[in-house]
Amino acid sequence: MSDNHLLDVNSQLLAEPIRKGFGRGLKRAGELDENVVAACADLTDSTQMSLFKEAFPSRFVEIGVAEQNLVTVGSGLAAMGKIPFVSSYAAFSPGRNWEQIRTTVCLNDRPVKVVGSHAGVSVGPDGATHQMLEDIALMRVLPNMVVIAPCDSVEAEKATLAMARDHRPNYLRLAREATPIVTTLDTPFEIGKAYVYAPGTDVTLIATGTMTYQALLAAEQLYKDGIDAEVVHVPTIKPLDAETILKSVRKTGCVVTAEEGQIVGGLGGAIAELLAEEHPAPLHRIGMKDRFGESGEPDELLKHFGLDAKHIRLAAHHIVERKK
């Protein structure tokens, strides 16, 4: 369905937590560059940093439950030429330590790699406190910061390796639950690039992170409905690949965005800003709409909050009508 070496969403797909790809990528990055180091705030297994820690114990720092210290220690490590990956749950980092990221990483311009795991409502039973929905907005607003949300574990591994070579501050958003793997080793990934994962002409579905799989599913269903949807995967929310996105919207004339986070300030916000300035077009944003999550099973929550293929499909029908 595209020339991007994707797997068919109708086939039997393997599913794996996106954070697993990060764990493998970090270990590989550590093998490739001895300056890659890691620090964690008491969630080493959860964030999958344990692989790195086992391989390079002298290059791993256990910070304890102290997220402000986590990123500022990262800033100090980076000042001495290290490439520090610092991880916790997204709700705590960048949730708790935003000012430290702003001052000691972004304004100070040090290449700290902030890794926020367990983002989105799909964290599930832990409830709203742990379901980070504002991280994209918090990080996107910071000058110098790059914001990346891979769609599966295979892409997360590539993203991690790319981050280790990038000289800017980066934020990497990861999810807890198993997400179907749609990309392959041959699928391209480059920081700052968006990719057309399925070509179409009637509507552009722009998705990031876990919602890209849902957008691909929605496109399949829409095709049967007689709507030819183009799916654009945006793994880098900042800097936004305006060229790829606008090229698609100029062709289709309407847009649905999809993300597992607040649409205000998130991918939906970014796309709304881009379209309003460059190419006004009917837009519907799927995501969390100015509310918090709650406890529940991941699948149940995604349905409850309208974060699935079904709602993307409905939105696409609605927006195609509005275009007419």
Binding site: A66, Q68, N69, V73, S75, L77, A79, T104, N108
Partner: protein, 286 residues
């Protein structure tokens, strides 16, 4: 910079010059903090002209000692010391806080070579020092040191104690923290805003070696830094008791000068006092 280049008397003169420059730049800028920088002038004279290994001609020299200014609002004292050391021309001090200046109101690393970090929001310097010390250990750069200047009011920040705990855990002995214990912060005396005592016991209980000195005694600063280098099993904090506004009679001990600059009349009076300081450094007619 070669160490032990200056006699104690010369170092005292350096401190006085730093104070004069602080008064001039703050008056010219029309805003900024007076008390802290004046109180820390002796510490900065000791660090820049005796203690630290550094080279103003090579700010990125990879053998240099690192000085972090966690209390970024006191940066006028650092700018004055850097200019005196030759990092940049003295006349640039008069651009402090002006549009386009490399001398921002709070220090920005990316604008001025010789600054090691961007700071201002309090409580993050010691964490950065810990990161640097960990990296130095990984790199086997055991001869380098990280000095961190901190305010006492800054110790209200939780981030500080996260770093104190971490440095204690990893026994980061390449760190020398210096707390400017001047007992004032913006809202008043530290012990009424948020009591810090027993400060020595607090640091000790986190695994630090604590030295207490008169922070306006240059020789004591130099000796304490030497002692800190000799302590290899723990990080060291020097609690430096200083007089806020030191050297300018009408500013000393008055917390109102924490965040205020002198006006022209006050600056003239302050400079006059600094020039004639007890008659022991220079005569007014010199």
């Amino acid at each position: 910079m070669a160490q032990k280049t200056y006699s104690l008397k010369q170092l005292e003169q350096k401190a006085n010059t730093i104070r004069e420059d602080i008064i001039r730049m703050l008056e010219h800028a029309g805003s900024g903090h007076s008390a802290g920088p004046l109180g820390q002038a002796d510490i900065f004279a000791a660090l820049y002209f005796d203690v630290m290994k550094h080279d103003p001609r090579k700010p990125d020299w990879d053998e240099r000692d690192i000085l972090l200014l966690s209390n970024g609002h006191c940066v006028p004292v650092r700018y004055a010391a850097m200019a005196e050391a030759g990092y940049f021309p003295k006349k640039e001090l008069m651009t402090l806080r002006r549009l386009g200046s490399r001398l921002q109101g709070h220090p920005e690393r990316t604008r001025l070579p010789g600054l090691e970090h961007t700071s201002g929001p309090l409580g993050s310097g010691l964490s950065q020092a810990a990161g640097m010390a960990l990296a130095m250990r990984m790199n086997n750069e055991l001869h380098r040191r990280v000095y961190v200047m901190m305010g006492d009011g800054e110790l209200d920040e939780g981030n500080v104690w996260e770093a104190v705990m971490l440095a204690g855990k990893y026994q980061l002995n390449s760190i020398t923290a210096i707390v400017d214990r001047n007992n004032i912060q913006i809202d008043g005396p530290t012990e009424s805003v948020m009591p810090l005592e027993d400060l020595k016991k607090k640091w000790e209980s986190f695994g630090w070696h604590v030295l207490e000195i008169d922070g306006n005694d240059i020789e004591a600063v130099i000796d304490a830094c030497a002692m800190a280098r000799a302590i290899t099993e723990k990080p060291v904090v020097i609690i430096a008791y200083t007089i806020p506004g030191k050297g300018v009679d009408f500013m000393e001990y008055d917390f109102h000068w924490h965040g205020a600059p002198p006006n022209h009349e006050q600056a003239v009076k302050a400079l006059h006092e600094l020039r004639t300081l007890g008659g022991k450094i220079r005569s007014e007619h010199e």
